[in-house]
Every structure is written in C-alpha cells, then in structure tokens.
C-alpha cells in the first residue's frame, strides 16, 4: 500500500534538526529561523500527505512500522496511525508551523537553541501520537517534558524555576504510576504492544488499580481537577510559543492516552468509577470556569479556561463508560465530541496565547488592569482576538462549539443533569472570555502608554490562518469527522464486544 | 577437654568488646586502631579454633594471611593518623565531624 516510513520521518526529521540547532549555538538567528520554518513546513506537508493517504474507510491501523527494538523485553519500535492519531498529528504539525512563523517576530537570546527545542518537541509529539508499543509511547510521553522544561526554564518569566520544577515533578509523578500499570499489563500480556493489552482478561481489582494509575497519569497531563495546578503556573512563566504548544498540543497527549489506554483496557473499572470521574470532569468545567473568572493575569485566565475546556474532553471520554450498556450511539457522539474538542481547543488556545503574547510584547504586562483599550490602536488585532475569545466561549460557527455540542448531546443521552451542568459552561466560558475582552480590548485609552501597535505581517498571517481553520472546523468539519469516525465507532464496538 | 563452643563464645565476646570499643570510644583514634586489632584477633582466634576442630589447615593458613594484611592495614592507618594530626593538630574522635549532613 504505502511503504514509505512516513511516521518515522515525521518523528526523526524534526528531532535531528532540532538537536543540530541546539548543539550548534553559534548559528545566526535568521538562518535558524529559516531552517525551522523549512523543517516545520516539510513536516506539515508530510502530515498532509499522511492524511491524504490515510484510508478513512478502514478502521484498522495504517502506516504500520514494526521493528524489534529490545528483543529481550519484547519491546518493539512499533509505529502506526489511526484516525485519532492522524488528526492529532495534523494539529501538531500545523501548530508548530505557526510557531515557526511567529518566532521570527520575537527576539530571544540564543534563538537557535530555542527553535531547536521546539523542533525536538514536535518530533516527540509525533512519536507520542503514533507509538503503538506502550514503552515506546511512554518514552515519547516522558521525553516531552525535557524540551518543554528547558523552554520554560530558560526563556520563561520571573518565577520560572518554581513553575518548571513543579510542572516537571507533577507530570513525572503521574506518569511513573502509569509506567507501573503498563509494565504490569505487559507481564500479563507477554508483550508491550498496546493492542495486546486490549485482549487481556483482567480481574476487577486489577482493572481498578490500573485505571487509577492511568487516571492519575493522564489526568495530570490533561489536566483534570484537582491535579491541574501546575498548568497555570507553567503557562504564566512560559514564553508565548511555549504556552502555545503546551496548551494546544501537550495537553492533548493526556486525552489521547485516555482514549488509547483507559477506554479499552479498563472498561469494567471505568464503568464502575465513571460516575465519579464524570463528577470530576464537571467540577473541572464549572468550578474551574469560576476560578478562571477570578484571574487577574490574562495567561492564567486562559490557562484555567484550558482546564475547563479539557473538562469537556474528559467528560466525553468518561461518558463512554457511562453509556456503554445503554446507548452506544451517544457514546460514539461523546467520544467524537471529545476528539473534536481536543483539536478545536488546540487551535483556539494557541490563537489566544499568540494574542496574549502580542499584547505582552507591547505592554510588557499580562495583567488585566495594565491593559485596556487595545482596540483603539490595534483594531484588526482586537477584532481577531475577540473572534478567538468568542470561539473560546463556544460560539457556534467556530470549532469551539462543535465538540461541546457533541459532548453535551452525549451527556443528555445518559442523564439530563450532567448535560445541564456541562451546558452551564456556555454561560461561564462566555463570562470569563468576554471579561477578558471587556477589560483588555475595550475601554477608553487615549494615551497608549503601553505602546500598542498593529500586528506585523507574520502575526497577521498566524492569526489569520488560525481564524480560517477555526471557522472551517466550525462550519464544515465533515472531513475531520470522516477521519475519526471509523476509528471511533470501531473502538466503541470493540469495547462493547469485549464486555459481552 | 574444653568444648568448642567455649572458644567460639570467647572469640565472639572479644569481637563484641572490640566493636563496643569502636563505638563507645569518643576520645582517641589510637584506641580505635587498638579496637580494630582486637577485632582481627578475635577473628583469628575463631579461625584457628575452627580449623583445629575441623582438622583442617585452611583456617590456620587463613590466619597468616589475615595477620599480614592487618599489619599492612595498621601501617596505613598509622600513616593516615599522622597526616590527620598534621592537618588538624588533634586526633580526637569528636573533632572528626567536619564532614556531615
């Protein structure tokens, strides 16, 4: 069919070039910018061709690359892609491309290393989304921390040391528990391949503990309430592009892991605990929205809003457990909603962090009280930012709505109260998003002491492209649905079959 | 004939005394060195007794090796002691706590 190791290329090209950039610290800024741009563009093209070659009508894995890696332990270099992977790969490539474009409008010391870490991060993300061997997955999953740790730590804000170490240890803690679960599964299955785990017949207690390990591991990454507190700190300290990649792609790793591991492996325990997990998601949606409203720092506000939006992702995923017995269609809707929500949040949060970065560039402050009346000096920018804020609050016609709509639909399929509580987010997300708009974009500002200036051409391009894609996904997301549909249905069906 | 257990108990007692000497002594490193000698003595005693009991020469040969090694060890120990004294002007055990934590 397609014998070209495209997935490996997606992973290793950026990593190798990234390493080169990191080591060769004397490279000039311009050169490294162009190199990064070319590589990210290449990766984008590759992932587009991947999407193009992906056969949507098949539900099994495609582009499989499987080589023995550590033979003694039965660990394979096993890459493959299904619909969920493909969609997330596309998102990763796209966001990184935008970061590469945006990078040239910012100045950093030692820029080549900065860009190099981003390239490494991109490659590792690709790996995370395509690894079908659990140890390989774990390696990519963990390695992600390193470049991000350095990006935030080296190029971050004042309080970066605290934030980075907190972020690193927090996520490490979650993932080591997950590692134990993976190893335990592998001793039962005799292999580390994720698909082999699906076939295991676990006892209920085993499932319960494995579920908890996964829940902590992925829950921290996504992040779920109450293990979300690393995220606002990390975001606030991160440089703009760091926040972008963190919010738009890194968080998705958690959701991806939940879909890949929790749903099929720990179904029974999931059904048992689904109610509590749904409560957690609802707390994330409602409580975190409240907290977001109270923020005085723009980045923190958006960070909390990310947590709230990821609450929809977890809700969609956990609803599958809840609905398995009685309403499979709603389960499929919920899961698709969760996936779409991931993609959409990837675009919207990226856009918002870019916007905040642009404001910060002028005013050197991220506080709500220091920024006002932006619209007077940056009309186009304000218009775009308002659009993103609206998308963030789930305005129909933007991608932000689609996922929430599907998840709420699915929630109604199980219980109207859950649906109602989830739908409250419509109000709450509008209240904090527009609060940001109200305080920052509007208002009277005649002095312009902040020195606002309309965006540069690069920034316009980045934001414009994001607008187009957010609208595209909001109006005719059919293509995305096509990509994930068979995979999702197949996943739910196989889980359901596995139960009976 | 004295039963073998008596010998063994005796050597164990000597061993215990030497160890007690190490951790009860808070004055002088020289006393520590002496305790160490006592410890090796007890071991040698043990080895000889057992070798004799088993009718085997190995134990006694072992003792010779031990004696030699201990001699070398003491030599190094005393050398270190001199170095220490040159540096710190004291050989008090209590003064040896710059490295801690």
């Amino acid at each position: 069919m397609f014998n070209f190791p495209i997935l490996s290329l997606l992973i290793w090209i950026p990593i190798l070039v990234g390493l080169f950039l990191v080591i060769s610290n004397n490279l000039s800024n311009k050169l490294s910018e162009y190199l990064t741009l070319i590589i990210t563009f290449l990766v984008l093209l590759l992932s587009l061709s991947l999407t193009n070659n992906y056969d949507q009508s098949l539900s099994q894995l495609q582009f499989i690359e499987r080589i023995e890696w550590i033979n003694g332990l039965n660990i394979f270099y096993y890459l493959a892609a299904d619909g969920i992977s493909v969609s997330l790969i596309l998102l990763t490539a796209f966001i990184n491309f935008l970061i590469a474009i945006y990078a040239s409008s910012e100045t950093y010391k030692n820029k080549s290393a900065y860009l190099g870490y981003f390239l490494i991060l991109e490659g590792l993300l690709m790996g995370t989304f395509t690894a079908f061997d659990s140890i390989l997955f774990y390696i990519f999953f963990e390695s992600l921390l390193i470049p991000l740790f350095l990006i935030i730590g080296i190029w971050g804000g004042k309080n970066r040391k605290y934030a980075t170490i907190k972020f690193f240890l927090y996520t490490l803690f979650g993932s080591v528990l997950m590692l134990i679960a993976i190893i335990y599964l592998s001793t039962l299955a005799g292999s580390f391949a994720i698909r082999d785990f699906y076939l295991l017949n676990l006892s209920f207690e085993e499932e319960l503990f494995i579920l908890l390990a996964f829940l902590i591991g992925f829950g921290i990454k996504i992040p779920m309430w109450p293990v979300h507190t690393w995220l606002p700190d990390a975001h606030v300290e991160a440089p703009t592009s760091g926040s972008v990649i963190l919010a738009s792609v890194l968080l998705k790793v958690g959701g991806y892991g939940m879909i890949r591991f929790m749903l099929p492996i720990t179904t029974e325990a999931g059904i048992f605990l689904s109610e509590y997990m749904i409560y957690l998601s609802l707390i994330a949606i409602i409580y975190i929205s409240f907290v977001a409203y109270a923020q005085t720092d723009m980045k923190k506000l958006i960070a909390y809003s990310s947590v709230a939006h990821m609450g929809f992702v977890t809700l969609g995923i956990f609803l599958v457990f809840h609905l398995l017995g009685n309403n499979l269609n709603a389960a499929v809707i919920g899961l698709e909603g969760a996936i779409i929500q991931m993609i959409s949040h990837g675009l919207i949060s990226a856009a918002l962090f870019f916007c905040i970065g642009i404001i910060y560039k002028h005013s050197k402050s991220r506080l709500l009280k220091d920024n006002y009346g932006v619209v007077t000096f940056m009309p186009l920018f304000s218009f775009l930012m308002l659009f993103f804020l609206m998308a963030n609050s789930g305005l129909p016609g933007t991608s932000g709505f689609v996922g929430e709509f599907l998840v709420i639909t699915s929630a109604l399929g199980s219980n109207i109260i859950i649906g109602f509580l989830a739908a409250i987010s419509l109000l709450l997300s509008a209240s904090y998003s527009l609060k940001l708009g109200k305080n920052v974009l509007f208002g009277e500002n005649t002095q312009n002491i902040q020195g606002y200036k309309e965006c540069t051409i690069n920034e316009k391009f980045v934001l414009g492209v994001l607008v187009i894609f957010i609208l595209y996904l909001g109006l005719t997301p059919d293509y995305l649905f096509k990509i994930i549909d068979h995979t999702t249905i197949n996943l739910i069906d196989s889980i359901n079959l596995g139960r009976t | 004939m004295i039963p073998i257990s008596y010998y063994l108990i005796l050597s164990t007692i000597i061993f215990a005394i030497s160890i007690a000497g190490i951790f009860l002594n808070r004055k002088n490193i020289l006393v520590l060195l002496m305790s160490l000698e006592l410890m090796f003595l007890s071991v040698n005693f043990n080895l000889i007794t057992l070798g004799n009991y088993l009718g085997d020469l190995t134990g006694q040969v072992f003792v010779f090796f031990v004696l030699t090694v201990v001699a070398a060890e003491s030599a190094i120990g005393l050398a270190l002691l001199i170095v220490l004294f040159r540096n710190k002007k004291t050989i008090d055990v209590d003064d040896l706590s710059e490295l801690k934590g």
Partner: protein, 637 residues
C-alpha cells in the same frame, strides 16, 4: 427556488465579507455594498414570496451544506422555504434595509462607519439563518450569531464604559437562554437522532409518550424539550425573568435598537416557537406556562416603562411588553396571531425607534425626555411618523397594531384564559399611558432646542420614516383576513383550528371586527387611557403621586436592576475569588502540592541530622543494623 433562497441568505454575508475586505477605504463604497446586498436580499425575498403564493408551492426543505456526515448521524445546514419563513425574511430584510438606509445619515460622523455596516450586514445574515433554517442545529447557530451581532452592536462604541458593560450583560443573559436552547437541541438530537424539522415533526408522536428521568421524577420528554427550547426564546425575546438585558442594550446606536432590539432579533424567540408549533401544540402544560410568562411580561414590564425617563428605555420596555403579548398568543396556541403581531410590531416599533433616533440626533444625543420638548415645529415629518407609530402601538382602531393586538387579547378572552386576559387588558391602559407620555413630552411643551433654526433631518433619515409609516398603519388591515382564515400561513403553523374557530365565531371579518371593537371593553380602556393621558401629560391638569414603594419597585424594575448590576457581579466576584484563593491556591496548591514538597524538604533536613559525622555513630549504626538483622532472622527462622 433553493438557489434564490440561497442568494437571499448569502447576500448579506457576501456584503459582510466585502466590507471586511474593503476596510475603511471609502464611505461611499461601504454604503453601496451594505445597502445593495440587503436590497438584493429584500427583492429576492419579495420575489420568492410572490412566487410561493402564485405557484402554490409546497414547503421545501433542502440541505445545502454538510456539516458532518458520519455513519451514525448527520448534521447539515439547509433551507426551509414556506410561507412563514418567507414572510419573516421579508420583514427582516425590509426593516433591515430601511435601517441601513437610515443609518447612512445617522452614522455619517462616525469614524468606524464601515464597521457598523459590517455588523449590521452580519446581523441580517444571522437572522436569515434562523429564519430560513430547516433544522435545530442551524437554528442554534443563527441564534448565537444573532446574539454575537447584538453584542458587537451594543458595544459599538468601544470606549464607552456603559456600552461595554451593557453588551457583556446582554450576551451573558442571552447565553442563559442559549443553555436552554442548546439542551433542547441536544435532547432533540439524542432522542430523535436528527435535527431536521420535518423529520422531527414526523417522529414527534412516537416520542411524545417517552419519559425523561430527573432525580427520580419523570417528565414528559416532549414537554421537556419544548420547555428547554422556550427558555432560549425567553432570553432572546426578553421575557421575565430574562428580560433585563434589553433595556441596557439601548447603549448601542439607535438604528440598531430599531433593527435588533425592537424589530427583528427579539422576535426570534417568537418565531422559533411558531416554527416549532407542531411540537408545542402537543406540549399543553408548557403552553400554559408560556401563556402566563407572556402575560406577566406584558403587564408588569409595561408598568416599569411608566417610571422611565430615557426615551429609548421607555420604548425598550414597551418592546418587552409587546413581546409579552406575542408570547401570550403563542401560549394560547394562537401561533398565527403571534406572528401577525410580530410583523406589525416590527414595522411600527422600528418606526418608533427611528423617530427616536432622529429626535436624539437632533437633540445632540440627549435622551432624557424631561429635557426634550416642543419638537413638533422643527420636525413635522418625524412628528407625524411618530404619531402614526404611536397610534399603532396603542392599538387605535384601523391601524395595524389595532388588528394584531386586539385580536390576540380578544382571542385569549374568547378561550377563557381569565387571568392572562385581565393582565393583557390592563396592558392596553399602560401602553397608552407611556406612549402618550413620550409623545406629549417630546413634541409638545416648551422647546428645548438651543438653535431655533434647526431643520428636519437629512432625507436619508426621513425616507425610511415615510416608508415605514405605511405598513405600520395599513398592513394589519391588508393581511388580517387572509392571515386569520389560514390562507397565508397554511400548514406552516399548527393549531389553525383554534384560530379558525375564533375567526369564524368571533371575528367574522376585518370590517366586522373593526365595528365590533367599539363595543368591547378594550376600546373603553383605550379611550379612558387616552383621555387620562391627555389631561395628565399634555394639559398637566392634575398630579398623581405614585406611592413611594411602588415607584421604587418600578424604578428598580422589581429588583432585577439590582440583581443584574449589583448582586450578581458582586456575588460572582466574591465567589470566584473565594474559590480561587481558598480552594485552588490555599487548599490544592499550597495545601497539598507545595506542602508535600515542603514536607519532603523538612524530612530531609531532619534526617540529615542523623548523619552526624562521628565515627562512633556510624559504626553504631552498622552494628545495630547487623544485630537487628540477626535478631529478625533468629525470630523468623
């Protein structure tokens, strides 16, 4: 026909995009694009209406753009063309066009002239999206986009503090309703598996018997859906208790108030319920609820406008009250009557607002009616237009308002809904009072204009007034019979039997109804109110002091004012701060996370002391470990 309808729908959108593209290049271009795009829409809609009735088309429903088409479900954008949607779109485009035209002059001094037309064009598009939708999903999208345009337009003056606050509030209150609508939509989607109107209508009977379980109590599924959807309508159409955004929304430019907050957007809720009448007919308990909500709104919020002094706020409350009439009609299953009042109201309320706009601009943005007076001589045309609009609003016989409003009141009375009927009757009195209050205060009395040589406004502002006057006065008479007898809307609206029954037994025909009205209590109330207000407002021959409590209550809008401006924001600030500071930071972050790391630090610092540096401690440790091991082994084996 579908293509024409597509042109109708998309013309304003294309206009928006073109305007976005041209930016602030030239005013003439902006004017041309915006007005012509709406005009195209309007002509197409008129043509379609003509076509529809002349060729006896059946309702057409067709999907145009696929949103998502998966194995299990599919969602798409589509058009539904029948008399209801066409009439509605004609109303929307016509009012919209006139307002556009009017704005050319009204907004001529604005720096962001272009932006205004972007918003208005976009608004027209979103409204048409609702009107022409053939499924719930698109309805919701249009619904929210309308809310968005309203948000943008209320906050048009971005540096005006009160406008920013008002649009924030408006959007949020609308969002409350949207929650209901979204839940209704999702419930429809998850139970019927589709959101297409026709498919849902075909399935409704099978679902009617299913139950929905909430906290152990079960509810009828269909009623729940209807109720949830109606919550959305309540917010959009400003029904109690979600009405309080509307008066504040008057912060926007006046043409916008005319277009959005009087004529079109606020009627979306009414339109939706009418559109979904096949469902609402079945949900009788919900209908009763709607009836009461409508009549309460009509009466109590009419009262509030009596104590207001801002010209636009008075008209805004009047709008709420009139919407209450429509809602009441919906609740009584008189769907065609509600739409009838919707149409006439759209015209005369737009006219009123445009007149208000002319007055405001003449008085240099003075909106307090106590400071305006004696404009009759300076603005004769506006004066006449306002007069006709007011007559229509109070339901003076033969005007459009008369036909559409009296018929609702009479029909509700006819079907023996006593309490609503009483409230609606009282509403007539109130309506007359506040209308004449504006009328007399603004156009009579002492002149307040500084420049005595002021003339009537530009002709761009006057032409729409002329044009709007016609339907405000005559449209009612013109369509009254065909509408009531069911020929106009036909099968688009359910419960024609209810209306027909009322028509055949009570109304007979428009002339009879006109004559008959002089003998009804309605007319007497109207007459008394007119006489009263003539003496009270014009002649000022007597003074009534309203009890203090009552006036406070009214001024506070039954507490909604405080609730929305003080209590809720304060509560929200406190609550969110509390949650953030106490739970997120204190409990989770400092309490658990940082304390854990501190604890480990402390442990580390404590245990480090065991590493004393003394040889004897080290050896003691080694020996005790050894002895312990020996002991344990002695015990275990």
């Amino acid at each position: 026909m579908i293509y024409l309808a597509l042109i109708l729908l998309l013309a304003p959108l294309v206009g928006t995009l073109l305007l976005l593209y041209t930016q602030n290049n030239s005013k003439r271009l902006s004017i041309f694009i915006s007005n012509s795009s709406i005009l195209i829409s309007f002509f197409v809609s008129i043509y379609l209406l003509f076509l529809y009735f002349s060729c006896n088309y059946l309702p057409v429903s067709q999907d145009v753009l696929v949103f998502a088409d998966t194995k299990l479900y599919s969602l798409s954008f589509g058009l539904y063309i029948d008399s209801l949607s066409l009439v509605m779109s004609t109303v929307v485009t016509s009012v919209s066009f006139l307002v556009h035209y009017y704005s050319i002059s009204y907004m001529k001094d604005e720096s962001s002239f272009n932006r205004f037309f972007i918003y208005t064009n976009f608004f027209t598009f979103s409204m048409l999206l609702i009107v022409l939708s053939n499924n719930f999903f698109q309805l919701f999208i249009g619904w929210e986009l309308v809310g968005l345009s309203s948000y943008l337009l209320i906050g048009f003056w971005t540096s005006k503090e009160s406008a920013i606050k008002a649009n924030y509030k408006a959007f949020l209150v609308n969002r409350v309703g949207d929650i209901g609508l979204l839940l209704g939509l999702c419930l429809v989607f998850v139970t019927y598996g589709t959101t297409n109107y026709t498919e849902v209508f075909n399935l409704k009977d099978t679902i009617n018997n299913s139950e929905l379980d909430i906290f152990g109590t079960s509810f009828n599924l269909l009623s729940s859906i209807c109720l949830l959807l109606f919550v959305g309508a309540m917010a959009k159409s400003a029904q109690v208790p979600l009405h309080f955004w509307l008066p504040d929304s008057m912060e926007g430019p006046t043409p916008i108030s005319a277009l959005i907050h009087a004529a079109t957007m606020v009627t979306a809720g009414i339109y939706m319920v009418a559109r979904l009448s096949p469902l609402y007919v079945l949900a009788e308990d919900v209908s009763i609820f709607i009836l009461y909500v409508g009549s309460v709104t009509a009466f109590f919020l009419g009262l509030v406008s009596l104590v207001q002094n801002d010209i636009k706020r008075i008209i805004a409350y009047s709008t709420i009250s009139q919407l209450g009439y429509m809602t009441a009609a919906l609740g009584a299953s008189l769907y065609s009557l509600a739409i009838f009042h919707l149409i006439t109201h759209a015209f005369f309320k737009a006219l009123l607002f445009l007149c208000a706009g002319s007055i405001i601009i003449k008085c240099h943005h003075e909106q307090d009616i106590r400071k305006i007076g004696g404009l009759r001589k300076f603005m004769p045309i506006t004066y006449l237009a306002f007069l006709y609009a007011s007559l229509s609003l109070i339901g003076f016989p033969l005007t459009s308002g008369f036909y559409s409003k009296e018929v609702i009141i009479d029909a509700i009375g006819y079907y023996n809904h006593t309490i609503p009927y009483t409230m609606l009757l009282a509403g007539i009195f109130i309506t007359t009072l506040y209308t004449s209050k504006i009328f007399f205060k603004v156009f009579f009395g002492e002149c307040t204009l500084h420049d005595r040589n002021e003339k009537e406004n530009d002709k761009e502002m006057l032409v729409p007034l002329f044009i709007l006057t016609a339907p405000s006065v005559f449209l009612g008479l013109f369509i009254f019979d065909s509408l009531l007898s069911g020929t106009l809307f036909g099968a688009s609206l359910m419960s024609n039997t209810v209306v027909l029954d009322f028509y055949n037994n009570y109304v007979i025909n428009s002339l009879y109804f006109f004559l008959h009205s002089f003998m009804t209590i309605n007319f007497f109330i109207l007459l008394i109110a007119l006489i009263f207000s003539y003496y009270y407002y014009y002649k000022k021959s007597f003074n009534i002091s309203i009890p203090n409590i009552l006036s406070t209550i009214l001024k506070n809008e039954y507490g909604f004012n405080n609730l929305s401006t003080k209590f809720i924001p304060k509560f929200q600030n406190l609550l969110t701060k509390y949650l953030w500071k106490n739970i997120d930071i204190l409990t989770i972050d400092n309490g658990i996370i940082n304390n854990t790391s501190l604890m480990f630090d402390k442990i580390s610092n404590t245990v480090r002391k065991f590493q004393t540096g003394y040889i004897y401690h080290y050896s003691l440790t080694i020996i005790s470990a050894l002895i312990l091991a020996l002991l344990i082994i002695r015990i275990r084996y």
